[in-house]
Subunit: 320 residues, 2 copies
């Protein structure tokens, strides 16, 4: 198992990604060989600073990277030797089993979709977020920003992608899927979710439990909550901001930590032909360590095969 780590991504590079790699080596070193992608001089200096040895890692040198403010589509084209392009290309060529980056989320998404390709039948790949509910069971909200204008069919695909991820990677049996809405009744919501509700009722591969409201997110009403990326992104960032306030005000506990995304690492781009894991820009070493672990779990699982199988029916429908 070989996992690539973007050393020039995120708000705190190279310290945070190198720290993530070093933490991973100490805790889970037997599970994968890490490939550090970035400026070799920076990497060697940072490894030395953190008391780690370069012989424990492979290094792929590049000085090019995509900044957090760069336009994703332009930067992916303009910077072929960027860490993100190299990492994704290595996944495509099977030189890596997975790639993780806390860098520019849009660039990771674009590179994953165009570099790895979309699994046939998937209308739009998605990214979700994992968090524990009040019973401490891991829950997924998806999409959280990859797709802001969603057709009903796209919401159905999110439901199926999230469901397969929770089954194969998170090991939740027959995960319950709910549609985010402003009320429980079928007739509630905007035009897109109303139509998606009907589609989901007719999708046997998804254990659809109906609509969920904002107040249900933290409850154990479902294992996967589906929504468009506009709403999902705003809810996600609102929740994250509360963590920052809570942790400064109260002694940290399980509840407060449940808002700490660092505990769960990144989320995969679901629906592409490879394991590409995106972390938050402010990821710490701990977050990156967990993201590497999540990438290994995804690579070891049947995630990609199961998505391919499940979407064959949609691929056939669309004539792909």
């Amino acid at each position: 198992m070989r996992i690539g780590v973007d050393i020039l991504g995120g708000d705190f590079f190279p310290q945070a990604p190198v720290e993530g790699a070093v933490r991973f080596l100490k805790q889970h070193g037997n599970r994968a060989r890490l490939v550090l992608i970035g400026d070799e001089k920076l990497i060697l200096a940072e490894l030395a600073r953190q008391g780690a040895s370069p012989v424990d890692f492979d290094i792929v040198h590049t000085e090019e990277y995509i900044g957090m403010e760069d336009s994703p589509t332009q930067a992916i084209k303009a910077k072929p030797r960027s860490t993100i392009n190299i990492g994704i290309q290595m996944v495509k060529e099977k030189k890596l089993d997975g790639f993780v980056s806390a860098g520019n989320t849009g660039a990771m998404l674009v590179a994953s979709i165009f570099g790895l390709g979309t699994i046939p039948g998937v209308s739009r790949p998605t990214i979700g977020v994992l968090f524990p509910n009040h019973e401490n069971h891991m829950t997924m909200l998806c999409d959280v920003g990859a797709n802001v204008d969603c057709k009903p069919e796209t919401l159905r695909h999110f439901a199926l992608l999230g469901s397969i991820f929770m089954t194969e990677v998170m090991k939740i049996e027959n995960p319950r899927v709910a549609l985010m809405n402003i009320g429980e009744e079928e007739s509630k919501g905007n035009a897109s979710v109303q139509a998606a509700f009907q589609l989901l009722k007719e999708t046997p591969q998804v254990n659809f439990t109906g609509n969920a409201e904002g107040r249900d997110l933290y409850m154990s009403l479902a294992d996967v909550y589906v929504c468009d990326g506009f709403t999902g992104n705003i809810v996600l960032k609102f929740g994250e901001s509360l963590y920052n306030v809570l942790k400064t005000r109260y002694k940290s506990d399980d509840f407060i930590e449940s808002f700490n995304f660092e505990n769960y690492g990144g989320v995969p781009v679901l629906g592409v032909k490879g394991i590409s894991m995106i972390g938050h820009g402010i990821s710490s070493g701990k977050a990156i360590e967990m993201m590497i672990v999540r990438a290994i779990e995804a690579a070891e699982s049947d995630l990609l095969i199961k998505i391919e199988e499940a979407f064959q029916v949609f691929a056939a429908e669309s004539g792909k």
Copy 2:
């Protein structure tokens, strides 16, 4: 000043609305005469139970009411003598300066729009929610569920309505208005907010400060945050559910109380020709007391006149 109170609305009627009226009488009795609308027997019994005298209130008797699960449009037609229909009608006929209800939100919205009429130029009336930010300044998020599919022009109107409410009722000078989005840049977001951004830049009546993200809601980036009612409703209910968890886990303090909607009472239906204040179904006596105070503040202010003036330009454009 006469304010009508729906005694047969909300999850805890008649106790909670009567308690709200009684609390109001004790704290602010000189500010308005309250008109209790509902089943006279129930009202008299509940007043007696709470040790209050019926002579301090006017009572308008009706036994008909719209249940929390009733279909708003159907119920408004089918139940002409419902408390909501009577209250709104009395506002229209100037027999009341304002009406407050913790009953069926949809029915209050429909009754307000069709009973009172929309102020010329306003594309869609809106309801927002008030909450204090981290500096304890009151902030508005609107829309929170009245309009789930929003055109760019509608988002512009929310911005203007929220801005006038914060100026006239909340007494905030030149309130800053931000557009909820998934990033700061103009190019971010779904098709509707991208177009709304351009419209807002060209709207001199609005002090537009650009895009805000979910993490900014609790910060003091703006005084009014504008979004479609689908996203707003999910964010609102997510925030409310956190209050319930927080208050059971920690000793209540200013921060936790900032998530307690009861402290701020209800919100007006903005854009209609009268003061119609909607409270949460689970409103307690305290929440209803505060909602009555808010209705008085709105009725005493220049809210309706200022909205009418501001929207004359839009009314002229649309040829109304």
